[in-house]
Symmetry: C2
Subunit: 307 residues, 2 copies
């Protein structure tokens, strides 16, 4: 069965400090640390494009597990900041990595729910077509579309990219997924030249749908929430992670939080967390994932370590 085998990541070294912006935005250090949860935001070079970030994430993957590019059957990029609208960014990555002509390539346009959605989409596509090895990239650098004077967004988003190797030699396989959409609220996060976010609307949506989605999924799988060993929630902000943790009455020790040093990296946030733990998880352990945001859209999943 196809599942997650390894994860490569790229976080730019260049960082912008939020603590230098306290006066500009009339906020204090505790707000930055306890509510936003971002001390520094990772920033790509202005000329770097999403495909460049993908290639750097691939370099990291290749260090962890040597990849024979001629064996790759499938190359997918999740992004809403493509290099161009035409062609898809996965084509550019396909060319840059020298992937074979037989390799299927396409982009998925989703935001913060994108990684969890794409895991299901790409694994199902590979399985249906008898594909053995796939690369699932996430790269959604918001630094080019952020208004640096907009308090709602300027303190939150960071740039990064990840690549997940999906193959039949997987460490993590899915037990089940839950998906949802609230398209009527699509203006909550919108790019009309610059990103605009209605923070209150997005927060309210998240605090309602994510606990519901996770509860629904656990019920469907006939699992107690305590049987899940670790939770990897999209790192929207510290406040949203704390709120979901509280509403679901999750054990705080089991809920990963790590965005202080790079920010909310959209669809890259969950694989950025997972990459630290994938090798050390014990066989049989279960993990919960949930992504939510742009769309409005959400997706939750339970995976199990099998190998």
């Amino acid at each position: 069965m196809i599942g997650i085998s390894q994860i490569g990541v790229y976080i730019p070294d260049r960082k912008v400090s939020n603590l230098d912006l306290l006066e500009k935005f009339d906020v204090n250090e505790s707000f930055i640390k306890e509510k936003i949860g971002v001390l520094r935001r990772a920033r790509k070079q202005p000329e770097e494009r999403s495909s460049d970030l993908c290639v750097k994430a691939f370099d990291d993957l290749n260090k962890k597990t040597s990849i024979d590019v001629s064996e790759i059957d499938c190359c997918v990029v999740v992004t809403q900041n493509p290099d161009f609208n035409i062609p898809h960014t996965s084509a550019i990555v396909h060319g840059a990595l020298g992937l074979p002509e037989e390799c299927a390539s396409f982009d998925i346009s989703l935001g913060c729910s994108g990684y969890v959605y794409a895991l299901s989409i790409v694994m199902a596509f590979m399985q249906a077509n008898g594909m053995a090895k796939g690369l699932l990239f996430t790269a959604d650098p918001y630094s080019d579309i952020i208004d640096e004077d907009d308090k709602n967004t300027a303190l939150i988003f960071g740039d990064a990219a990840t690549v997940t190797l999906l193959d039949s030699n997987a460490k993590l396989i899915p037990m089940g997924f839950d998906f949802g959409s609230k398209g009527a609220g699509y203006k909550g996060l919108i790019n009309e030249g610059k990103l605009h976010m209605n923070g209150r609307a997005v927060f309210g949506f998240t605090a309602t749908v994510v606990p519901k989605s996770i509860t629904k999924l656990l019920t469907k799988l006939d699992l107690e929430k305590d049987s899940v060993n670790r939770w990897y929630l999209h790192q929207g902000s510290k406040y949203i992670i704390d709120t979901i943790t509280q509403r679901l009455e999750l054990d705080k020790q089991k809920v990963v939080f790590d965005m202080y040093d790079y920010g909310n990296t959209v669809s890259s946030s969950i694989p950025l967390l997972l990459c630290h733990d994938i090798d050390s998880m014990q066989v049989g352990q279960k993990i919960g994932l949930s992504g939510f945001g742009v769309g409005l859209s959400w997706s939750s999943a339970i995976f199990q370590r099998i190998n």
Copy 2:
């Protein structure tokens, strides 16, 4: 098994005549009719967005087969001309149609190969997640990105949208797919403000990879090409359809050609052809599909009428 159940389409009434442009581009009528194969190009209103075209295609589907929107599990839009880059256009369509919160929504970014790719992606995703009814939209209006003075593109592309109802009550089910990418050639079709097409490069690529892809697929499925009753190739131009027909030595009568009155509609071209025939095909008949273009990218499939 999930397959194609019905197809709704939307072609704008507004048309631009290529025969009025003979002098401007220094071409004759025979070039327009025999090489390009487009007499009139369909043109959306300037303020209409991709999501608006999708909703109009849905209205057509709803006339053909009444849709209970509360039953839709999945809403996917194939486009490289989204309403916005953030959010995905499927979210806007989800909201406009009043689809349920449980409905998964995402966009696929692919060009002329998009419909065939997406059939596999969406059917596999639905099947893996136990979904019963899905809507697969194509909407890639190029009129907003065409340079009207560029002979390479100005005579070719038309606007349209389609929606394919995918469900377990299907008329057409897949026998197999073939996919491919040539990312190194991604500059052949690129939007850097306006669309630029290297017609010669794209033609050369197509004339090589499409016959190869179809032959490979037929071999994989152990089918003779004569056992396929009808071919639905992406309507890139009359010349490319004629070239593929010739290279594969297909029976001309079996190769559908119909773009004179609206143009090359990108990912909508194949479903625009299929919608005319889906109800009249006989049980057991096989059809061949192949999309190719932006990326560079291609995808072929054989479907069979079962119901």
